[in-house]
């Protein structure tokens, strides 16, 4: 453990953010093992920059990629892994995926607050 906050260490924009928001089903159903495998797999993918994740009622995972091609390639790998396992219906009540190009970035030291909380 280090004292470093768990922010993704992304380069200067532009790069690609995949915003994955989800509501889980009840029970684990193999989810924790799948999530761990998927995290390890993502980190080995070409073009992977980092990932940030939080969950309470809603889960939000933002993964960062060098470009759109890297994000698309990751999509295929992720689908394959899910297909090999129990399938998305076992784990998710619903989800949204948004693919976005990051154009500006600020940190606490460099500029004022822009988010909500």
């Amino acid at each position: 453990m280090t004292d470093t906050p768990p922010f993704a260490q992304t380069p200067g924009p532009p790069y690609v953010a995949v915003i994955f928001t989800s509501v889980r089903t009840d029970g684990d159903n193999g989810y924790a093992a799948m999530a761990e495998a998927m995290d390890a797999l993502a980190r080995r993918q070409p073009g992977f920059l980092g990932v940030e994740s939080a969950r309470d009622a809603l889960g939000i995972t933002v993964s960062y990629w060098t470009d759109q091609d890297a994000a698309r390639a990751w999509k295929k790998v992720a689908e394959h892994l899910v297909a090999q396992r129990r399938g998305r219906e076992a784990w998710y009540r619903d989800y949204r995926v948004r693919v976005a190009t990051v154009e500006r970035e600020y940190g606490m030291g460099s500029s004022p607050l822009e988010g909500l909380r």
Copy 2:
């Protein structure tokens, strides 16, 4: 309470996502009241589309806006509200703000899994 998952009801792309990731300080220090005020304020802003939020070790709030001008205008309002209160150093150990243009969007019913978890 409804049974609807707490996803932001965004229109078809393109639109703007402001991804705010943060690590909190210890203690409330007026944070909960500030967050509630900021949420209410955001919802009244021109160009506001929705917001999704989750927190465990890391907090992630993604707010959605019609365009870059609406996102910039919100930044000024948010800064003003924070300046009126105790200030960001009381609430945050560190944060990142990323402003991105959403180009593609998928739901569970319409396409396969793309995110990490």
